[in-house]
């Protein structure tokens, strides 16, 4: 009986062991190795691996119907064997969700994309350095020399106003125009986002005017009783469109243009210097589908991917991709406007103090 059960055990265990060994050797590559593959067979290895994984998960702050759906659709057309999925939320939610998953050892997400996602995640030690061959054609300040992040799109921030409530001549032309008492109670901004919205506006003012002068200016601005909205800057623009507020600060300047093209009564107003920032993507150290994730990252930065991002009305990070003429008035280089670029590091370093100022002056 002992012998029989032994034989039975061997019959079961040996093939299982062999299978495990084979699959182990096939998937021996760690996320780190996969993320830094080089050489001519890189793409073949990634595609083979991605076929086994069959899935990829992107968490992104891009607007769902405008951007994420077309991006995922184009990606699936190129790699029909990858079931690409996404979850859209604001940056803070994205980060906390990804951090929670990492802590729970139940990571669903491969790539997190958005403005301001990199620093907090790097600090928590959940990101994986990667290298993408395509980055050699990108500007130096659009990717991390250590390989932790790469820019996916650019954003310029400013003012949006409702054209039924405010005339173009009346709308503020400088930052100081914002202090005019006639705007009291008519302004709104996104109070809980990382990119655009209150905190970034405050960081910009402080880094542009200097800490002391900046805070004094912000104290004056707080007299305007700006409405603190909890949604994304996109939603804040919607509230301006439907007349809830006359103007909003810290919005993506391309959003009002997109809505105006559909007939909504809203227009952008860049204020000089125009605040610029790059949204970035990071790779999770515990990414469950690293091969497919690398393909998706490649795709996002490829000419095709950047064109989809452009067609989704974002400003592509790749300078080689043409932007639509309609967006010229808000792109500093084309509209001849002075620009101030805030990097992920700048924003993160100033963050705590800016949030304190926001709390002190702008929370009712």
């Amino acid at each position: 009986m002992v012998l029989r059960s032994g034989c039975f055990g061997v019959k079961l265990v040996v093939p299982a062991l062999v299978a495990a060994l084979i699959s182990a050797s096939a998937e021996a590559a760690t996320v780190e190795e996969i993320a830094n593959l080089k050489g001519p067979d890189r793409e073949t290895v990634l595609i083979e691996g991605a076929k086994r994984e069959g899935k990829v998960m992107l968490y992104s702050a891009m607007i769902e119907d405008q951007a994420l759906r077309p991006i995922i659709k184009a990606f699936k057309e190129k790699y029909p064997f990858i079931d690409a999925e996404f979850w859209r939320a604001d940056t803070r939610d994205l980060i906390n969700k990804a951090l929670a998953e990492a802590r729970a050892r139940s990571v669903n997400v491969d790539i997190v994309e958005g403005g301001g996602v990199s620093q907090g995640m790097i600090r928590a030690g959940v990101t994986q350095a990667f290298s993408l061959p395509i980055l050699t054609s990108y500007e130096k300040d659009l990717y991390d020399p250590k390989g932790m992040w790469a820019a996916t799109r650019l954003s310029y921030f400013g003012l949006a106003y409702n054209t039924k409530l405010v005339t173009a001549g009346d709308a503020p032309k400088t930052y100081d125009d914002l202090l005019d008492p006639k705007w009291k109670g008519r302004l709104a901004w996104a109070a809980t986002t990382e990119t655009g919205g209150a905190a970034m506006f405050i960081t910009f003012i402080r880094s542009w005017m200097g800490d002391e002068k900046g805070e004094a200016w912000l104290a004056k601005l707080s007299q305007q009783k700006i409405a603190n909205l909890s949604g994304s800057p996109r939603e804040v623009v919607n509230k301006v469109m439907d007349g809830e507020y006359a103007m909003s600060l810290g919005i993506f300047l391309n959003h009002p243009i997109i809505s105006a093209q559909k007939g909504a009564p809203v227009a952008p107003r860049p204020l000089e210097p125009v605040v610029g920032n790059a949204s970035v993507m990071i790779l999770m150290k515990a990414a469950p589908h690293p091969h497919a994730a690398m393909l998706l990252m490649d795709f996002l930065l490829s000419r095709k991917g950047q064109e989809v991002i452009r067609d989704a009305d974002y400003l592509p990070a790749d300078p080689g991709v043409e932007t639509p003429k309609a967006l010229d008035p808000i792109i500093p280089s084309k509209a001849n406007l002075q620009r101030k670029f805030l990097s992920e590091e700048d924003i993160f370093a100033a963050r705590t103090k800016s949030l304190e100022i926001q709390k002190k002056y702008f929370q009712n």
């Binding site: 769902e64 119907d65 980060i95 906390n96 729970a104 139940s106 907090g120 603190n228 909890s230 994304s232």
Partner: protein, 579 residues
């Protein structure tokens, strides 16, 4: 063989004054399961409040700083005051409207009064997030109310702004009105009319009788319900998050949410300290509620003799009463649903106008029907609701019987199943988030984790329904079964269970209805593979996709109203009780 021994002992046992059942593992097993479910959240929320949070969100060092910071900042007192104001305000609306409706329906001869019950129960099917969005659109600056005011020349610019304390109170009050009505109906229905007749005979007029007798007798119940609604509003998360945040009004429950979701990384310690404060207040209020209920016995009017409630003949006032009921139905249900249906047909929302009729399209419905994430959200929600309701019923049916009969483990089960009452939903959510994040195996973000947490939340509700069912069963049935040699498990399965099945079914439907419409629990616990409808609606609102929200909301509400209808039929037969 043991059975035979038990049989032999039985005549003796039944001869004793105290009826005894043979010992059985049912009680201890249930108690162990319930304890494992309800005690860890308590431990974790206390621990959370006493530790710093590391960069990756894990527990850091032991500290009292979370409390120190709370006491040092002026936010605590201001937000506590906001919470109180919100709770009391919405309870006043819900109870006064609910009482007026309940009296009209139960104690007058106003026409069409019976349909009020149906409307109230059906309205339970509307998710809070959807109901709130509807009112934010109606009262918003570009909504119909402001448009009408401006068109009529009463205002030059939009004057009504729902994003503030006023809007929060109004919407929360309206959400609780149907439940206030349902609970107060039974109060007015079960009071003896002979007291009122006596007063009339002594020469008191209708008004005096109403004030001194009808209202006087109902006062303890009114107070208890008032407190109950206040507690629920005090704990509420969804309305303050959707309505108050945009107007800069914070309450304790939104502070907890913001500490978890809007700080990087989540400030668990801060959330924990806020949570403990919130729970202390809730415990105090619940104790007060319990006292009120105890005193309410002094006002019982139904005794052994027959009774019937007195029906007031309204005469010429009958149309007025019907008009009042119709107005309530329109404002509480028809208006918000009409707003959502309208919005669901628009390509983009920019207020209500004549031009919008030309733009109407069903494109949003197509989008919703084809979105895989919405389809999976609907399936997930139904699975979550149905399994939660099933687990709650499985755990509470036996517990309720043991507790009602004061059998071994009964007292403990009664205590344990009430523990979740002291947890506001958002606090329970944080507690379970911490538990799931600290488990050695991956469970965070799964549907099963959501079911576990929601089951704990609704244990007290299930207990309420099943106890009511078990109380109605006379002991002699069990004694008979016992004499025939049945074990306790057999008695429970073959005698009790079939008899309390109607109560269980009502409880099942009620838990299903409530658990699928709440957002506080899944908003922190659900992951990308366990999205539920309430969270999808919440995300759509915060992402500004109002037209899609409306389309998804219409489809979901239609479906849940059908379930509400089922519940209506069940509750008419077996009664309704809500804690």
């Amino acid at each position: 063989m043991t059975d035979a021994a038990a049989n032999a002992a039985l005549p003796l046992a039944t001869a004793q004054a105290k009826f005894r059942l043979p010992a059985n593992p049912l009680g201890p097993i249930l108690a162990a399961i319930v304890a494992v479910l309800v005690l860890p959240p308590l431990y974790y929320i206390i621990k959370t409040s006493l530790y710093t949070t590391e960069f990756d969100g894990s527990f850091g060092d032991f500290t009292f700083d979370n409390y120190r910071e709370l006491v040092a900042s002026d936010a605590l007192l201001r937000h506590l005051f906001n919470s109180v104001q919100f709770a009391v305000g919405s309870a006043i609306i819900a109870i006064s409207l609910g009482a007026a409706l309940a009296w009209t329906v139960e104690r007058t001869d106003a026409p069409m009064r019976q349909s009020m019950l149906l409307v109230s129960i059906v309205s339970l099917g509307v998710p809070h997030v959807l109901y709130t969005s509807a009112w934010l659109l109606i009262l918003g600056k570009s909504g119909p109310v402001n448009a009408a005011l401006m068109a009529s020349g009463l205002a030059a610019s939009p004057v009504v702004n729902p994003n503030g304390m006023g809007g929060m109170i109004l919407i929360e009050g309206m959400i609780w009105t149907p439940l206030g009505f349902l609970l107060l109906s039974s109060v007015f229905r079960t009071s003896d009319g002979s007291f009122e007749e006596a007063a009339m005979m002594c020469g008191a007029g209708v008004a005096t009788t109403f004030r001194r007798i009808t209202l006087g007798l109902a006062t303890p119940a009114l107070l208890a319900l008032f407190l109950l609604v206040s507690i629920r509003a005090f704990e509420a998360f969804d309305i303050p998050a959707l309505v108050g945040s945009a107007g800069g009004v914070s309450v304790l429950s939104t502070d907890i949410f913001n500490s978890i979701r809007k700080d990087i990384p989540s400030n668990f310690g801060q959330a924990g300290a806020f949570a403990i404060v919130l729970m202390i207040v809730v415990v105090a209020l619940l104790a007060l509620h319990r006292r009120l209920l105890r005193n309410a016995e002094r006002f019982q009017t139904i005794t052994g003799k027959g009774y019937r409630p007195r029906i007031v003949k309204l005469g010429a006032f009958r149309p007025v009463a019907t008009g009042f009921m119709l107005l309530c139905v329109v404002v509480l249900l028809v208006l918000p649903i009409a707003m959502i249906v309208t919005t669901s047909l628009l390509p983009f929302y920019d207020g209500v106008s004549r031009e919008m009729f030309g733009r109407m399209t069903t494109a949003n419905y197509g989008l919703v029907a084809h979105r895989a994430s919405f389809q999976s959200a609907i399936v997930n929600t139904l699975m979550m609701g149905a399994s939660t309701a099933t687990f709650v019923c499985l755990l509470t049916a036996g517990s309720a019987w043991l507790a009602v009969r004061k059998l071994s483990g009964g007292w403990l089960l009664d205590q344990l199943t009430t523990v979740p009452l002291i947890f506001p939903a958002i606090v329970l959510s944080v507690a379970f988030l911490q538990i799931f994040l600290n488990m050695p195996f991956p469970i965070y973000g799964t549907l099963i984790s959501l079911v576990i947490a929601t089951t704990v939340q609704y244990l007290p509700y299930g207990m309420r329904f099943c106890s009511a069912g078990a109380l109605q069963i006379h002991r002699e049935l069990e004694e008979a079964a016992s004499s025939a040699g049945a074990s306790r498990m057999q008695i429970f399965v073959r005698v009790i269970l079939p008899l309390i099945m109607p109560a269980i079914a009502t409880s099942w439907l009620f838990v299903l209805l409530l658990s699928v419409r709440a957002v506080a629990m899944p908003i922190l616990l659900s992951g990308p593979n366990s999205q539920v409808v309430a969270v999808a609606l919440f995300d759509l609102w915060t992402n500004g996709q109002i037209t899609e929200l409306a389309a998804l909301g219409v489809l979901w509400t239609a479906f849940m109203m059908a379930i509400g209808l089922l519940f209506y039929r069940a509750s008419r037969r077996y009664g309704l009780s809500v804690q």
